[in-house]
Amino acid sequence: MKRIFGRTKSLRPLDTHYCSGCGHGVVHRLLAEAIDELNIRGITIGVTPVGCAVVAYDYWDFDCVESAHGRGLAVATAIKRLQPEKVVFTYQGDGDLAAIGTAETIHAANRGENLTVVFINNAVYGMTGGQMAPTTLIGQKSATSPLGRNEKTEGYPLRISELLAQLQGVYSVERTAVDSVYGILKTKNAIKTAFQNQMENKGFSLVEVLSACPTYWDMSAFESLDWIKNKMSKVFPLGRIK
């Protein structure tokens, strides 16, 4: 019988540790599929974050380097500069990329490093127990904003993708959401394009993915998808930013 669908080679046949309804597992698969469709598994080096996705290298079947919290783009910069013929990406959460690692993110982007960035925005710190992230929405309750984020004291959700798009060194920035079949397909395309950009030496390409965290949003998986659609993507509009 002709095989028409299966698990892609770059994704190991394992159960993940992610909570039900979490977007990380979906995006892991999309990344692996994009890599296999581009036939770059043997030359790919992934840089994993500190966050819920720290052990993504257990699920992916290609070379990976674990970075300290927020330093993914410093680590990736060196790897890519020394191995320009390889395909190097970072996979980072919103705390990792947009709080503790803001300086590394902005400066790697500004240097126009020829890298691919997959940025998972789930509006909370998942790994440490649902604390407020730079991307937490106004009014959203979290472990460290128990009354809801108050812009007067905690500031506004940080649209770091729009901020990065201002930089001359940045080639492309796109925001997608894994909140529907359509969104998932769109995300995969965006990731694939971001890899192709790198292979064509076009420079820094970032894909921000709005991704559910039902556990720390205190919602069911389905409610989470609705929340992305109705709330989160109002603050973080989807589409090509640059």
Binding site: G42, C64, V65, E66, S67, A68, A74, T77, A78, A103
Partner: protein, 366 residues
């Protein structure tokens, strides 16, 4: 005694500052990645790298911070390339998390600290007050760095070269611990001739590096061991490695210790002043010797242990540009069996030859 001194060849003589000698040595040793952030008194080092790394086929990056620099070194080393960063005290403080990650991932790397005086912003004068941070390991976790302390520009060149060999051999971060005086002073030195220079392409490839899994199983460079028991097992492996290094890599220079009643103990540039004082005291007919630790970690315990149990009554005078940091390691090695005294200044103050002589004389008469 020092492997590098034995391999001294007939290379050309040059005049360089300590900072430049470290940078040149790194390139000669096959270092092909450098990232750093400017800070006095090591700016000649980053300047030399900016000028010479690209023409040597390597990568130079002025990073946005020392945090970024050390993590770039992490990535470079994970790529299997000899990599280095340098800074001075406050910048090295910022790097501590990264150094711990490098130790945890068992990556080779060379980190240069041209010490200035602290705490805080302190000042830019010479100091040795980062000894604890380097030797006891300033980051989190049970780890060690090999720490080498050159006392001349020639030795800075030799030990930096050696640092890359040790880093690769043991897969360990190696710290070159110098001070503002060493970094800034210029001295003539002989550098390796072409045949001794390392060609990075000819270095053995590192089977564990992240280079793409084309012809092998995937590699992962990491320091995370979530499952209970796994980290303990890994840490015990690290401890065995450290034991082995402690056995094999204790290095020091000794002068006139056989008949000595007082042994001066100093490292780095401080040892040069101590040596001067020793010569003056010997001229007066006084039995004074010197031990100069070259490796600060592993600390050269064996020589102190041997002297500690001799029948003769001895006194050690530890001299530092700090308020007594290496002093603790000397005391540990001597273990209360002989007298250990201390002379130190910090904040930019340097114990003078006269002060050393005075302290030695009062020790001899007490």
């Amino acid at each position: 005694m020092n492997r590098e001194q034995r391999t001294e060849d007939r290379g050309e003589k040059v005049l360089l500052s300590g900072n430049e000698a470290v940078a040149k040595s790194a390139i000669d040793a096959g270092c092909r990645f450098y990232a750093g952030y400017p800070i006095t008194p090591q700016n000649e080092l980053i300047g030399y790298m900016a000028k010479n790394m690209a023409s040597s086929g390597g990568i130079f990056i002025q990073s946005e911070s020392e945090l970024s620099a050390i993590n770039m070194v992490f990535g470079a080393s994970a790529s299997g390339v000899r990599a280095m960063t340098s800074s001075s005290s406050p910048g090295i403080s910022l790097m501590q998390e990264g150094i711990s990650y490098i130790a945890g991932a068992e990556l080779p790397a060379v980190i240069v600290n041209i010490m200035r005086a602290g705490p805080g912003l302190g000042n830019i004068w010479p100091a040795q007050s980062d000894y604890f941070q380097a030797v006891k390991s300033g980051g989190h976790g049970d780890y060690h760095c090999i720490v080498l302390a050159p006392s001349s520009v020639q030795e800075a060149y030799a030990l930096t070269f050696e640092a890359f060999v040790l880093a690769d051999k043991y897969r360990i971060p190696v710290i070159i611990l110098g001070d503002a005086m060493l970094g800034q002073m210029m001295e003539p030195l002989s550098v390796h001739s072409q045949e001794f220079i390392v060609h990075s392409k000819k270095l053995r490839t590192k089977s564990w590096a992240a280079t793409g899994c084309k012809d092998r199983k995937p590699n992962v460079v990491k320091s995370f061991y979530l499952n209970l028991g796994d980290l303990e097992k890994f840490n015990l492996k690290l401890q065995r490695k450290y034991k082995n290094i402690q056995q094999k890599e204790q290095r020091y220079e000794e002068l006139n210790i056989n008949d000595a009643r007082i042994i001066l103990v100093a490292y780095g540039t401080m040892a040069r002043l101590a040596k001067q004082a020793m010569v003056s005291l010997r001229e007066k007919g006084l039995k004074v010797g010197l031990i100069r630790p070259i490796n600060l970690w592993p600390f050269p315990q064996k020589i102190f242990q041997r002297l500690a149990i001799s029948d003769k009554r001895l006194a050690f005078l530890v001299i530092e540009m700090s308020y007594g940091q290496m002093l603790e390691d000397v005391k540990l090695a001597v273990n209360g069996q002989q007298r250990v005294e201390f002379l130190g200044r910090s904040g930019g103050g340097i114990p003078t030859e006269e002060e050393i002589i005075k302290s030695s004389l009062s020790l001899l008469s007490s």
